[in-house]
């Protein structure tokens, strides 16, 4: 088998030189490494350049609303816990419009892998600042440069108690594939913040900049068991870590929810309404 089988044979609408291509390859490689049958995987996306991923892969797909990626993914996973659910979208989608769903799905801790294409810009809508844009980043809307502080996804996820917190860079495809595979393998909510250049709109966080400003956790012999250490690293390091920053094993939502024990909800047969007779008996 090969990673090819996960790729839809359709033209893409991404710009030449964009990091999205490498992320697509990495995702396919990760699925291949795990040997997942395409029909058991559901890729859930929102709207944006990153979100177009679902159309370029050969797996099940739910391309929903901008910002609502995780909400749809959570519904899918609860309805059929046997599906491998991967949510994927842009930094605007997940950290901007969809911020509330990120907060609360980290709390839920369903077994969902979230891959955020973090190009620090709104690509599809032509280059406005995203929540991760650097202060001072100038756009046609942020004409004086970004004034707000950037959202730092890894610190946020740690503070919310996320059980798998990782970062990768589209420029290191094999490494990215490995991180994605580990995230999918993790039982519970897993965040992969995927740094990638947007040559069309982001002239600051370029490929070269990303190479320059990241470092490998593995090369430092990082042990992802320490939350405090992870927070400390994020506070003290100027550069951006790549790899699995934190990982903690625990039973995900679906294991803890009494109704979800047994067959997936979606596969339980429709009952005869007559079976509800005990309930109508309550009406007297």
């Amino acid at each position: 088998m090969s990673a090819e089988r996960y790729l839809a044979q359709v033209p893409t609408a991404w710009c030449p030189g964009c990091g999205n291509f490498a992320i697509r390859e990495a995702l396919a490689a990760a699925l291949d490494e795990l040997g997942l049958p395409p029909h058991r995987v559901v890729l859930v996306t929102g709207i944006g350049q990153a979100a177009k991923m679902v159309h370029y892969m050969r797996v099940n797909g739910f391309d929903g609303l901008h910002g609502r990626t995780l909400a749809a993914a959570a519904g899918i996973k609860m309805a059929n816990k046997d599906l491998v659910v991967i949510a994927e979208s842009g930094d605007g989608d997940i950290y901007g419009e969809g911020g509330n769903h990120l907060l609360h799905n980290i709390r839920r801790d369903l077994d969902i892998t979230l891959i955020v294409h973090d190009n620090r810009v709104y690509g599809l809508t032509k280059g406005q600042a995203s929540p991760t844009s650097d202060p001072g980043f100038v756009t046609k809307v942020q004409t004086f440069g970004v004034i707000s502080q950037p959202l730092r996804p890894l610190a946020l996820a740690l503070a919310l108690g996320c059980g798998f917190v990782a970062q990768a860079f589209s420029g290191y495809g094999d490494h990215a594939a490995g991180v994605i595979a580990r995230a999918i393998r993790h039982r519970g909510f897993a965040l992969v913040n995927m740094l990638h250049p947007c040559p069309a709109w982001n002239r600051v966080n370029t490929f070269a900049w990303l190479k320059e400003n990241t470092f490998s956790l593995e090369e430092r012999g990082w042990d992802p068991a320490g939350k405090l250490e992870a927070l400390e690293l994020l506070l003290l390091e100027e550069k951006l870590p790549l790899g699995v920053l934190y990982r903690e094993e625990r039973a995900p939502f679906e294991d803890r929810h009494p109704v979800l024990r047994g067959d997936p909800l979606a596969l339980r047969p429709l009952r005869q309404p007559e079976e509800l007779a005990p309930l109508t008996a309550e009406l007297s």
Binding site: V54, A71, A79, L83
Partner: protein, 557 residues
């Protein structure tokens, strides 16, 4: 025989518990019972009133004036004392001094001294009330046992203490047989309908009065295999429900107008990805937060037109809790059959009121599976989720059950669900989606005419949803006073059936729309679809439910 009993107190004094016990006991006496809850948006204090109407023939509406008032405090005595019929009686604590005829029982003292449970004062008064009404105490005692379990003993004693101290009133309540009847409120009707229809997933954010349906399903969750998930917000709720539905679980959300306002983008998504979802909206007075615990029919035109773009939907507005059961089942069925969003439009009055209705017949709830089975899927060489068909309905597969992949997309898409900017496909997809409206039109049942028969020459009252009972009785009142009135009443409002409207407008002397809003929303909808215009709209928008008297008076102005 007809009697209206009202229990009124502050939030936290147990008004609801007392009202539920009493009304169910009266139901078990074989009487027709209708209840209505009026309460403030607070947890303690304020005004709670539980109005119970009892009769030996069917009653489907509430009344303003009561024969008996159980007042739990001074304020409620003042507030509701003036809403007694002439010669009405008050039951209250001995420390209160009502001006009306009264049964005063030292309930607080008894509860505190004899029972060491001050909150039981209400139960003491309930005992007195039951005796005053001439009820069988055994029925009430059984109910107290069912409800309080371990804590029943003290409450039974409280009942007893009250009953001992009250005289029998002038009402010899007749006895009947509750067999063949059910006693339930709208929340139970909707919730039970959802369960019967195979609902497996509810995601919602608490909001009065929609929460009641969530609470009902949560109570049945484990036994009936339905996940009830409290979403972080209403947007999450509808998107979670759509995700669950895509994956194959029948899914619903429950909310009120304000929460629905946040679901509108998701509604449009449902239309685009042709993924069923059932939305229960319990209406309440708005705009914005409005009056959270009151009732209204203000969200009809909003529900019909909500969402950007054009797509079919189904909207029903049940008349009573039994109707809510059947229509909720139907909403699920049509949502699944046509792959559209379906809205069940109720209101606080319907949700919180208990009605005595003919037994719900579970076997009448038609439930069928419209999804492709793995076997059917296996026979299809190339699966197209959005295949363009004459009916507009495409075969629906769910992901994971076969090797066929299922792709849905909020962008315009081709038959495979893949994003497209081909404007030719766009046009055909718009037409395909809208063609489903035709099928839906044929599913809608005709409106109800009361009294049965023609409308020729009559003044026709036009109504929809939970106003049914009050309108029906208003027609009786008006006709009893020499009028020539009839009722044309809709419980399925979108798509709108037009044949009966055309006939009614052609035959009637005059058509008067009666609605729980200020702008005549249903009348406007009728005009939009048919061009037919009601001559007048009678609107109620003060947050209170309709009463037959109010309607009769307003209509004959």
């Amino acid at each position: 025989m007809e009697l209206v009993v009202r229990i009124a107190g502050a939030a936290g004094q147990g008004v609801q518990t007392l009202g539920e016990l009493l009304s169910r006991a009266l139901f078990r006496h074989g009487l027709f019972v209708h209840t209505e809850m009026s309460y403030h948006s607070r947890i303690r204090g304020g005004e709670n009133a539980y109005t119970i109407r009892v009769s030996d023939s069917p009653v489907l509406a509430t009344k303003e004036k009561a024969h008996v008032l159980l007042a739990l405090n001074d304020e409620m005595l003042a507030r509701y004392g003036s809403l007694l019929v002439d010669g009405g009686a008050v039951i209250c604590d001995a420390s209160l001094s009502p001006s009306a005829r009264a049964v005063r029982v030292p309930a607080r003292e008894l509860a505190a001294r004899e029972l060491k449970l001050p909150i039981a004062a209400g139960m003491v008064l309930l005992g007195a009330l039951a005796r005053f009404l001439g009820m069988e105490m055994g029925v009430l005692r059984d109910l107290v046992r069912e409800r309080f379990g371990d804590r029943a003993e003290l409450n039974l004693r409280a009942l007893e203490l009250g009953a001992e101290r009250a005289p029998a009133g002038p009402w010899g309540l007749p006895r009947g047989d509750p067999e063949g009847r059910h006693f339930l409120n709208g929340a139970q009707g909707v919730g039970l309908g959802a369960l019967a229809a195979g609902c497996r997933f509810l995601a919602s954010y608490p909001m009065t009065p929609g929460t009641a349906v969530m609470v009902y399903l949560a109570a049945k969750s484990l036994e009936h295999g339905v996940v009830v998930e409290q979403a972080e917000d209403e947007i999450a709720a509808i998107n979670m429900a759509l995700g669950a539905s895509y994956a194959g679980a029948r899914a619903m959300v429950t909310t009120s107008g304000g929460g629905f306002a946040l679901m509108v983008e998701g509604l449009s998504l449902s239309g685009m990805i042709e993924t069923p979802v059932v939305i229960h909206i319990g209406q309440r007075p708005a705009p914005a937060t409005g009056l959270p615990t009151r009732t209204a029919q203000e969200d009809l035109l909003f529900a019909v037109h909500a969402g950007h773009g054009e797509f079919p939907r189904y909207i029903c507005a049940p008349r009573d809790p039994r109707d809510a059961f059947y229509l909720t089942v139907k909403a699920f069925q049509l949502a699944e059959k046509y792959q559209v969003p379906a809205i069940v439009l109720t209101d606080q009055y319907l949700i919180d009121s208990h009605f005595t209705v003919p037994e719900i017949d579970l076997s009448r709830a038609e439930v069928s599976d419209f999804r492709l089975s793995p076997e059917e899927l296996a026979r299809i060489p190339e699966y197209r989720r959005f295949a363009i068909t004459p009916s507009g309905v495409s075969p629906r597969a769910i992901p994971g059950v076969s090797e066929k992949l299922v792709l849905v997309d909020s962008d315009e898409h081709d038959e495979h669900g893949r994003i497209t900017e081909d404007l030719g496909i766009r046009g055909r997809m718009v037409e395909k989606r809208l063609r489903k409206m035709r099928g839906l039109e044929a599913e809608v049942s005709p409106p109800l005419v009361y009294p049965e028969g023609g409308l020729r020459g009559k003044t026709v009252l036009l109504g929809w949803g939970s106003s049914f009972g009050a309108l029906k009785e208003a027609v009786d009142l008006l006709n009893g006073a020499g009028g020539d009135y009839a009722l044309l009443h809709f419980s399925e409002v979108w798509p709108l059936r037009t044949a009966e409207l055309a006939r009614a407008f052609a035959e009637a002397r005059e058509v008067i729309a009666v609605e729980g809003n200020a702008t005549g929303q249903f009348a406007r909808l009728v005009s939009q679809v048919t061009g037919l215009r009601a001559s007048r709209t009678v609107g109620k928008y003060d947050g209170r439910p309709f009463t037959p008297e109010w309607i009769a008076e307003e209509v004959s102005r």
